[in-house]
Symmetry: C2
Subunit: 345 residues, 2 copies
């Protein structure tokens, strides 16, 4: 029952990604079926004809969500979506999920039903089956752990480490809106706490709040790629923010990159809201996170294919590592892109 601690390094000193690197560095895999382990959106397992793609996420009350403004049904939906997004980011199709939950006695059966209504809504929408899980008590709060299992084809999976110099960087949808939605919800929460009689006025902010509370994974993009016989050279989902996720892709690929600020897609409402909050819209797009859009690279010869696809924006190019990861601003300046995404520790 002793508890010697000769040295104590805070996790916050090295951060989540630093911790994972630290813990997994140098480990070799032993199973021939393990095609790809730690370090991408999902692990890849060889099953002969099929590749199985596995991704897992943990959502913790008070860290990832605030039940004061997060409806339980939306939470269940989002918990599924964030995992499916990782599977799509491998250019694979999610097929099954497992759901584990730890619940304090604050949560009733009816509350859990609400969470499951959201989980099942996502299952129905994306055509995946809930096949297992674990439900247990928690001394405090709610925690949801979801694992998504998908199927991919050997020559079509898209990793983070396979971008080539000169590849074109593409972004789906628009960025920063989920972060703006979160800021609005946080503001309304404060107003409500200060004056519980007040009614939140969220109707006008439906797009931004919706991007936060009910994100969708870009299955449609994977389907577009398949129809066009396009295989991106690399792909990652934008969950931590464009900056952080582009840096991941560059690091894994051993490359640099540049983004054209003017070509980073930001919804008009997100731009206006950012200005209202006295924030720089591009900063919100780079560092906001939770957009669950896709960041991918293509061979320049495939540019024509992408040009005809809806909701895809050509935003930059992969360069040599020594050139760094840079933003070409609309003002004509060049700034290094740094990770300022979500830091939970």
């Amino acid at each position: 029952m002793s508890n010697d601690q000769p040295k104590r390094t805070e996790i916050s000193e090295i951060g989540e990604f630093g911790l994972i690197d630290h813990l997994t560095r140098g480990r070799k895999t032993v199973q021939p079926s393990t095609l790809f382990g730690v370090g991408d959106d999902a692990a890849v397992i060889d099953n002969g004809d099929h590749l199985t793609v596995v991704s897992t996420d943990l959502l913790v009350e008070g860290v990832h969500f605030d039940l004061m403004y997060y409806p339980l049904k939306h939470l269940g939906y989002k918990a599924v979506v964030v995992n499916l997004s990782d599977i799509y980011a491998m250019n694979a199709i999610p097929k099954q999920i497992t759901v584990s939950m730890a619940l304090s006695n604050r949560f009733s059966v009816e509350a859990v039903e609400e969470i499951y209504a959201g989980i099942y809504a996502a299952c129905d929408h994306y055509g995946v089956d809930l096949v297992g899980g674990d439900t247990t008590a928690s001394p405090r709060g709610l925690l949801i752990s979801i694992t998504a299992i998908g199927q991919g084809e050997r020559d079509k999976l898209t990793y983070r480490h396979t971008a080539k110099k000169g590849d074109i960087i593409c972004i789906t949808g628009d960025l920063g809106a989920a972060y703006m939605g979160l800021q609005i919800l946080e503001r309304e929460k404060q107003l409500y706490l200060d004056n519980p009689g007040i009614q939140p006025a969220l109707e006008e902010k439906a797009y931004l709040v919706g991007r936060q509370l009910k994100p969708e994974a870009r299955r449609d993009m994977i389907e577009q790629f398949a129809s066009a016989r396009l295989v991106p050279t690399a792909m990652i989902d934008i969950s931590d923010g464009l900056a952080s996720d582009l840096l991941h892709l560059c690091k894994r690929s051993g490359l640099g990159a540049f983004l054209e600020e003017a070509n980073v897609p930001i919804h008009t409402e997100a731009q206006l809201q950012a200005l209202d909050f006295k924030l720089d819209p591009i900063t919100c797009a780079l560092s906001g996170g939770e957009d669950y859009e896709l960041l991918f690279t293509i061979d320049p010869k495939d540019v024509e294919k992408v040009k005809f696809m809806s909701d895809i924006y050509i935003a930059g190019e992969m360069t040599d590592a020594q050139d760094g990861v840079m933003l070409h601003t609309t003002g004509g300046n060049v700034h290094p892109i740094t990770a300022q995404g979500w830091k939970h520790f």
Copy 2:
């Protein structure tokens, strides 16, 4: 931000298994590859040549373990083992795991290294690869969610629902020791809290404490089955206690069963310890849980095969559902077996 709750049913009113039944009842699966979903030790996914078997468990500090006497390394080891046990209980071979953790700022990098040392020790021992996960902050305490992925053969997987009337019930290893180990640790904790100067005297209790702190999954049994070309008709791992797990198997198979008290394997040290605690040894074996032994049924024609296998005990027989699930005591009485396993809610 309203929070209407017209009805409130406590989860404790229906229990963990009741909750899962309630939430999953009536849901149909849509993916052709989903061979088996919720309701067994693991889900089964069809990948053509191979079947993928997936199991997931959540361990919560203060619910499943007490860090006052649970060394972090052992905790990491056990977190893996409990999942592998579910894969073996399908007569499949675990190949990969994912590990997600939520950690409060009480935990240093060095503490997480200890947990991972245990996780890797289990990976090395059982030959599985750690292929992914998620690490995040927690407002309080430690939570570990592990998903194990295994491979099975179509005609060899063992489910819970496939036992037949007249099948022989077998149990591996011995039962009740992990529960006795837990009682010893709880006693030592109380002694320590009352008098922090005291040193715990656990050396003499190494077997029982070891069964609690460092359980193993019965890979050797699955290997024995393969060598002997024995396929059990049904199987479940004994994690909640023999009573609870036998009741699961009976319910899923639509059958009853009887166990011979005299043939339920209990280690001598567990028996002596139970008596020391003024507990009935058979009650500890039936309700203790966390033994991670296997409970399986075989066709009577296979009894000769099992007789020559080490560490397997023939303990009863499957009967008609209307005969109930009964214990034939050494005193010649017949008692219904009721579930008194772990109740976390």
